[in-house]
C-alpha cells in the first residue's frame, strides 16, 4: 500500500475560552495520491476547521498531521509556510483574488513567491493553466471584471500554480450555479486523476456523490462516509 500523501491522526481542535468549543474531535483520516475526497456535513460541523488543520493553516490541540508520512507538529511557522507554498494548493469559498492584479498576475503570485521559474516560464505556465481551465480570454482582465465562475476557476488556477501534490478546496462551488459548480468539480476530479490528492468540502450532496470517497462530519466527528480511518 502506498503512503498517504496527507494524513490526520487523532486530530482535535478545541478553541480555548470560558466555554471551550470543540471544532474538530479525534479525526483519523488518510488521503492517498490520485484520490478525490469530498467532505460533507451540516453547517458548523467543523468541515472548514478540519481543512485548515490538514492544510497546516491551523495547529491542532491534539493529534498530528502527516505530509508524505512525515509529522508536521515540530515545524515552526516559517517551515509550515514553506510547506504550504511548495506542497499545497488552496481554494477558499471566497475567491480571495488580489483586486489590483490581472488574472494572469494573480495566477503567477505563488510562482513568484516560490521563485523557481524564470519570468517567461511563469507566464507560460500561468497561461497554460488558464487554458486548461478554459478561460484564456480573461488573462489580462481584473478580477472584478470576471463572473463568479471565472473567479473561482482563477482561484483554482492559482492553487495549481506551483504544481502542488495536494489541493484543498473549501466549498469551491459555494457561490456558483449548478452548471458552474459541476464544471469546477469536474476539474477537481480531473486533477485527482492526474495523480494529485484532492480534498473538497461541500454541502452539496449531489456533487459529493461524484467524488471517489466521502467523509461526513457531525459536530467535528467523522460519522460516516466511504473513507474513514
Amino acid at each position: 500500500m502506498t503512503i498517504a500523501t496527507l494524513e490526520g491522526r487523532g486530530l482535535t481542535r478545541v478553541l480555548p475560552g470560558p466555554v471551550p468549543t470543540t471544532l474538530v474531535a479525534e479525526v483519523d483520516t488518510a488521503f492517498p495520491p490520485a484520490s478525490f475526497t469530498a467532505i460533507t456535513g451540516p453547517s458548523g460541523s467543523g468541515k472548514s476547521s478540519l481543512l485548515y488543520l490538514l492544510g497546516l493553516l491551523d495547529l491542532p490541540t491534539a493529534g498530528e498531521v502527516l505530509v508524505d508520512g512525515q509529522p508536521t507538529s515540530g515545524l515552526d511557522d516559517a517551515a509550515r509556510t514553506a510547506t504550504r507554498l511548495e506542497r499545497f494548493g488552496f481554494v477558499f469559498q471566497f475567491h480571495f483574488l488580489l483586486p489590483e492584479f490581472s488574472v494572469l498576475d494573480n495566477v503567477m503570485l505563488p510562482m513568484r513567491q516560490l521563485g523557481r521559474l524564470r519570468p517567461e516560464a511563469m507566464r507560460a505556465r500561468a497561461m497554460g493553466l488558464l487554458d486548461q481551465l478554459d478561460m484564456p480570454e480573461v488573462a489580462h482582465k481584473r478580477p472584478d471584471a470576471l463572473s463568479g465562475g471565472q473567479r473561482q476557476r482563477t482561484a483554482v488556477a492559482r492553487a495549481l500554480a506551483n504544481d502542488p501534490q495536494i489541493l484543498l478546496a473549501d466549498e469551491p462551488t459555494g457561490s456558483l450555479d449548478t452548471r458552474n459548480a459541476a464544471a469546477v468539480f469536474a476539474i477537481l476530479r480531473a486533477l485527482a486523476r492526474e495523480g494529485r490528492t484532492v480534498v473538497a468540502v461541500t454541502h452539496d450532496e449531489a456533487l459529493a456523490a461524484t467524488a471517489d470517497r466521502r467523509i461526513r462530519l457531525v459536530d467535528g466527528r467523522v460519522v460516516g462516509g466511504t473513507a474513514a480511518g
Binding site: 472548514s48 491551523d58 514553506a82 507554498l85 477558499f92 469559498q93 488580489l98 513568484r112 513567491q113
Partner: protein, 414 residues
C-alpha cells in the same frame, strides 16, 4: 520581473493615490525645509567664521604661560612627597622674551607669516567724553601680512601708520560714536600715565561689533612709548596659508617657546559652541518636521494594512512568509520616503535659491544677500532622517500585519 513584495507594495500605493501623494508631500516639505534652513544656518555660520578668520590672526602667541615652571625642589626629588607653599613668584618684565628671534624663526617657516604686537588699554578722549579701547601697537607692514584689515578699510589705510608715527586707525563704530572723521585729532591717555594726541589716519569696518567699536591700531613704537614699555612685545600674530593647520602650529609654537599660543578655534571657542547649540536646535526642529511626516506614512500604511487584510491573509496562506509581509509594507514606506526625499531635494534647492535673493538683515551693503550653503552633509542627514522615519513609521503596522493570523480573516470572510 520586479520582486513580489515590491509589486504588491506599488499596487497598494496606486490604489490609494491621493493619500500616497499627501504623504509624499509631507516628506518633501520636511526634507526641503530641513535642507534649506540648515543651509541658511550654515551659510550664516561659515560667513561669520570666515569674517573672523580672515580679519584676525589664526594663531595668537601671548606672553602668558599656561603652566608654572616646576620648582627646583620638585625637579631634584621627582619621587618625593614634596610640598612647597608660599612661593613668591618672580615678577619678570611682562612680554614675550626673545620675540625678535622667535619672529625670525617663524618667518623662516613655509606657509606662515608672523607680526609683533603690543596690546594695551588706552583711553581716547574727544569732546569731553572718554572711550576706553584696546590698542594694538603693530608694525603696519608685517601686520598687513597677518590680517585682512586692509580689505576692511573704509577710509585711509593701515599702512599710513608707517608714515605717520602719531596715526591711529579706528573702527567705524567708534568713529560714529565719537563723531570722528579722517584727519581728526584725538587726545589719548594710557595707564602708564602718558598723555598725547593721535590723528585718525584710517577707519575700518569688519562687521564684528566688538572690533569696530573697541579696537584701534597704532604704530608699534608709539604704543611702546605710550604704554611705557619700550621694546616690549606681548603678542605675536600668526597667519597660516592653510587655516586647518592652526591647532598643530599653535601646539608647535607653544612646545618650542613655552608661551601660550592660541589657535583661532580656542580664541573663538565660545562662538563655536554657540554654533553647535544653534545647529542642534535647527536640526532638531527641522528634523522633527520629518518625524511628523513619518506620522503621515504611518497613517497611510495602517490604512492599507486594514484595507488589504484579505490580500495579506491569502498571501500568507498561499505561502508568503512573515518577512515577505513586513517587506511589502516597509517597501511602501520606503517608496513614499524616497519619492518625498527626491522631491524634497528639489524643494530645498528651490527654497535656497529664493533665500539667496533676500537681502541679508543687518548688512551694511544692501546688495548683500542671505548666504545659503547647501552641503552634501545636510542632504545626507536630511535624507537619512526622512528614510529612517519612513521605515520606522511603516515598520509598526507592517509587523502587526505580519503577526495577524491569516485564518482569522479567512474564517471571517467565508
Amino acid at each position: 520581473m520586479i520582486p513580489l513584495p515590491l509589486s504588491i507594495a506599488l499596487a497598494h500605493l496606486r490604489s490609494r493615490k491621493r493619500q500616497t501623494l499627501v504623504s509624499v508631500l509631507g516628506v518633501m516639505l520636511g526634507v526641503g525645509v530641513f535642507i534649506s534652513i540648515s543651509g541658511m544656518m550654515q551659510g550664516f555660520q561659515s560667513y561669520f567664521l570666515s569674517q573672523i578668520v580672515e580679519t584676525n590672526p589664526h594663531v595668537v602667541v601671548t606672553d602668558e604661560i599656561r603652566r608654572a615652571a616646576p620648582q627646583p625642589m620638585q625637579l631634584l626629588h621627582p619621587a618625593a612627597a614634596v610640598q612647597i607653599s608660599r612661593i613668591l613668584p618672580r615678577d619678570p618684565v611682562r612680554g614675550i622674551v626673545g620675540a625678535g628671534a622667535m619672529l625670525d624663526a617663524l618667518a623662516a617657516m613655509p606657509g606662515l607669516s608672523a607680526a609683533p604686537t603690543l596690546r594695551g588699554q588706552m583711553i581716547l578722549r574727544r569732546a569731553g567724553r572718554d572711550y576706553a579701547v584696546t590698542a594694538l601697537g603693530v608694525d603696519p607692514v608685517r601686520e598687513l601680512r597677518v590680517t585682512s584689515l586692509e580689505r576692511d578699510m573704509r577710509q585711509g589705510s593701515l599702512a599710513a601708520l608707517g608714515t605717520r608715527p602719531d596715526g591711529v586707525v579706528i573702527g567705524s563704530g567708534l568713529a560714529d560714536k565719537m563723531g570722528a572723521t579722517l584727519g581728526d585729532t584725538l587726545a589719548v591717555a594710557t595707564t602708564a600715565g602718558g598723555e598725547s594726541t593721535l590723528r585718525v589716519v584710517g577707519i575700518f569696518h569688519t562687521g564684528l561689533e566688538q572690533q569696530d567699536t573697541g579696537q584701534v591700531y597704532v604704530a608699534l613704537a608709539r604704543q611702546q612709548s605710550m604704554q611705557g614699555r619700550p621694546r616690549v612685545v606681548n603678542e605675536i600674530h600668526v597667519r597660516l596659508d592653510d587655516i586647518g593647520r592652526s591647532i598643530p602650529v599653535a601646539a608647535m609654537i607653544e612646545g618650542r617657546w613655552g608661551f601660550k599660543a592660541a589657535p583661532w578655534e580656542e580664541t573663538y571657542a565660545r562662538i563655536l559652541s554657540v554654533f553647535v547649540l544653534q545647529n542642534a536646535i535647527i536640526f532638531s526642529t527641522t528634523g522633527s518636521i520629518l518625524v511628523v511626516a513619518g506620522f503621515g506614512i504611518f497613517n497611510i500604511i495602517s490604512t492599507v494594512v486594514m484595507e488589504k487584510a484579505r490580500d495579506i491573509a491569502i498571501m500568507r496562506s498561499v505561502g508568503m512568509p512573515r518577512g515577505g509581509v513586513v517587506a511589502i509594507f516597509v517597501i511602501e514606506g520606503l517608496v513614499v520616503g524616497v519619492l518625498g526625499m527626491v522631491a524634497g531635494w528639489l524643494l530645498g534647492w528651490g527654497i535656497a535659491a529664493v533665500l539667496r535673493q533676500v537681502p541679508s538683515p543687518g548688512a551694511s551693503d544692501p546688495s548683500e544677500k542671505l548666504r545659503v550653503v547647501l552641503s552634501g552633509f545636510t542632504f545626507v542627514l536630511g535624507s537619512a532622517i526622512a528614510l529612517a522615519s519612513a521605515v520606522g513609521a511603516a515598520w509598526i503596522p507592517a509587523r502587526k500585519a505580519a503577526r495577524t493570523d491569516p485564518l482569522a480573516i479567512i474564517r471571517g470572510a467565508t
